[in-house]
């Protein structure tokens, strides 16, 4: 799977979801991202991601519901004297929160293919030549992350057996300082290893130049068409915005921006069983 095609699709999903306040189009992008990921990697590998996204989205909904006491359709009310949460709880605030939660969920799921479907080197290969050294350094540093978490577990265990006990934030220095020092040393050793293999010695070549396969072109073309179609529809006034306040209204839906959003389902076909 070509990281440039993934990047194109992710970017278009984000542009659409962030450029409109209409929850109908946000919902379509959210479903497209979710379906594409499920078809590529399966639900099992997505469990943690979905749990995290769900948590953040629900938090956003509740935050808006509890804090925005606007709107005419009052569901219930707490006395105004109750600090922070007192006041009317409205259907409009709930709907606006749901719309915000969908925005966050769609944006996170649109970016998720980078971590779920591509390797750091795929992303690095997709970068323009001018950024290839930076990309290599980032890919290399990502390889250190697992060793840092192992180091934390190992050091905290060993320090406990040495007699250390967590007594307030300052006591954690006895664990965190060695982990940070070890991570810094690991980074230096990695840099040494890169230097010893000629890193930054001149223009780089690439072992596997990223080529767009036909299926990648399909995703890129569909994404470009979706972007063009949606921006055009916005400019023409066909993709109307939505306002939750002061009274809740149904979001408008037009077949032309709807068709543009449906193009984002292209990866459901091309990414199937790739992950």
């Amino acid at each position: 799977m070509n990281a440039r095609a993934v990047a194109a699709w992710s970017a278009v999903c984000m542009v659409i979801v962030l450029s409109t306040s209409n929850p109908a189009y946000k919902a379509i992008v959210l479903v497209a991202a979710l379906t594409a990921l499920v078809s590529a990697v399966g639900l099992r590998r997505m469990r943690r991601l979905l749990a995290g996204v769900g948590f953040i989205a629900v938090f956003d909904v509740l935050l808006n519901f509890v804090s925005a006491h606007l709107g005419r359709t009052v569901l219930f009310a707490l006395p105004d004297g109750v600090p922070a949460i007192g006041g009317p709880y409205t259907l409009e605030a709930l709907a606006f929160g749901v719309s915000g939660g969908m925005t966050i969920a769609a944006a996170v799921l649109a970016a998720a293919p980078f971590s779920l479907l591509t390797q750091p080197q795929d992303v690095m290969d997709a970068l323009p030549a001018a950024l290839s050294r930076t990309g290599t350094a980032i890919a290399a540093s990502l390889n250190l992350v697992p060793s840092i978490s192992r180091s934390f577990a190992s050091v905290s265990e060993a320090q406990r057996l040495r007699g250390w006990r967590p007594r307030g934030p300052r006591s954690w220095a006895e664990v965190l300082v060695p982990v940070v020092l070890t991570s810094a040393e690991s980074s230096i050793q990695l840099a040494e290893s890169m230097e010893a293999r000629g890193f930054a010695s001149g223009p780089r070549t690439a072992f596997q130049k990223p080529r767009l396969a036909r299926s990648d072109w399909v995703v890129v073309a569909a994404s470009a068409a979706a972007l063009g179609g949606f921006i055009g529809a916005r400019a023409a006034g066909w993709a109307g915005d939505w306002f939750a306040y002061p009274s809740l209204t149904l979001p408008s839906l037009d077949v032309r921006p709807l068709a543009a959003c449906l193009l984002l389902f292209a990866p459901v076909v091309t990414w199937r069983r790739r992950g």
Binding site: E157, G163, P178, A196, F199, F207
Partner: protein, 440 residues
């Protein structure tokens, strides 16, 4: 043509007054050069000089002249020397840039502008030479330490250097993994190119070496190889006492995927129990279960009261105090024991470096400093996970004597080790840990 020539070469690391290499004049011929010497003597500095990491990467002060693979080391940056002198480091986990084997081997070729069309063949050849061809499409995270180190060697060989330098490449590996790495190294040497290697497993290399140099106190001299590493005779303090810990039907590891399955085992006071077995067999899990840091999924673990000293696989990661002495004092303070830090520092030969920052020491000295920090005082249960990794003979001898003393004072000692020398020197009892079970 000589592999390397040094003329009155003196080098000091930045911020250090004592030279790491002191007025060295030496010529390394072609073929296999074995570099020996005690920890902290300057071996790693000499090796890094050969590909320019010293002084170009590490900075510091340098005087004299050095030539490696026909190039002036001081006037040639490492990234240029890298095309002629390859370098394999000690830790296989800290030299990988990519996550897949083929890409990792291609890294040096990409850096040195090798055309893409020529890469596949060179990668294939290098993986064959390193005995890692079957790993070509694997992810590095799925490889054992020995396999990763062979991939590191392949990534250097792909650059077709005239010389390959290896800094204790097998110190982190089990005997099987180490043998495969050394086999690959010897094959490279037999292909007519030069190898310079610092290594503690001297037996096989000494037979093939064209020359042996000894590095000590920053001085380098040609020597005749002396490789006998005889078992240390450790006097016994008496018979083992009562049970110090017991595992009764213990299953441990991850739910649904236990590493230990219904293990029954016990250790006695004043006894050294050695755990053997292949990597991944469950030795570390067993040690952590005995220590109580890993709760068993089933069964019971019982221990006599008293301090536990636990040395993890990478003990130098613990070091963070300003001096070696203060590391030991911290353990004594935490455990509430009134003992002088200098006692154990003397036992492990660390008094000379007691006032130094532990992370500035050589890898062997750091390992001993970590041992001192963990084993200070009078622990009742001593659990050591591969304690001799990267240690030279002197350090191993000191460790053996220290463990024998703790045992004679009544401590129950459990060692997980591949080191036959250590096992023969210390074991009262040996058990095999394999496939989740314990036999012996």
């Amino acid at each position: 043509m000589a592999t390397a020539r040094l003329r009155h070469l003196t080098y000091s690391y930045a911020g250090s007054h004592a030279p790491a290499l002191d007025d060295v004049t030496v010529e390394l011929g072609e073929g296999l050069t074995l570099v020996t010497g005690p920890s902290g003597g300057g071996k790693s500095t000499l090796l890094r000089l050969l590909n320019g990491l010293v002084p170009h990467f590490h900075g510091g002060r340098v005087a004299g002249a050095a030539e490696s693979a026909g190039l002036d080391v001081i006037g040639t940056p490492t990234r240029v020397l890298a095309r002629h002198v390859g370098f394999v480091f000690q830790d296989p986990e800290l030299q990988a840039v990519y996550d897949t084997v083929e890409r990792e081997v291609a890294f040096g070729l990409e850096n040195t502008s090798v055309p893409a069309a020529a890469m596949a063949g060179r990668i294939d050849d290098a993986l064959h030479q390193a005995g890692a061809h079957h790993l070509a499409h694997r992810r590095l995270s799925t490889l054992s330490g020995g396999e990763r180190q062979r991939v590191a060697l392949a990534s250097v060989l792909a650059m077709q250097p005239r010389t390959v330098v290896l800094d204790e490449p097998t110190s982190q590996l089990d005997p099987g993994g180490a043998a495969l790495v050394l086999d690959a190294t010897l094959r490279f040497k037999e292909s007519g190119r030069s190898v310079v290697i610092a290594e503690h497993r001297l037996e096989r290399l000494a037979l093939a070496a064209e020359q042996v140099v000894r590095v000590e106190h920053g001085r380098v001299e040609h020597v005749t190889a002396g490789v006998a590493q005889k078992r240390i005779e450790v006097s016994r303090g008496g018979a083992a006492g009562g049970e110090a810990w017991t595992l009764d039907g213990v299953t441990a590891g991850f739910a649904g995927c236990p590493v230990l399955d219904r293990v029954n085992l016990a250790g006695r006071q004043g006894e050294v129990l050695v755990l053997c077995g292949p990597n991944g067999g469950g030795k570390t899990t067993l040690l952590r279960t005995i220590a109580g840091v890993l709760k068993p999924l089933a069964g019971t673990v019982q221990r006599r009261p008293g301090r536990i000293a636990y040395l993890p696989q990478n003990p130098t990661a613990l070091l963070h105090r300003p001096t070696v002495r203060s590391e030991v004092e911290l353990t004594l303070e935490w455990s509430g024991e009134n003992e002088r830090a200098d006692a154990i520092l003397s036992e492990l030969g660390l008094l000379d470096v007691a006032g130094r920052y532990p992370r500035d020491l050589s890898s062997g000295e750091r390992q001993r400093a970590a041992l001192a920090a963990v084993l200070a005082g009078r622990p009742r249960l001593v659990l050591l996970d591969e304690p001799t990794r990267g240690m030279d003979l002197g350090a191993r001898t000191a460790l053996t004597a220290l463990v024998a003393r703790l045992r004679d004072q009544g401590a129950s000692v459990v060692l997980a080790t591949h080191d036959e020398w250590l096992r023969e020197s210390l074991a009262d009892r040996t058990v095999q840990v394999c496939n989740g079970g314990v036999t012996g």
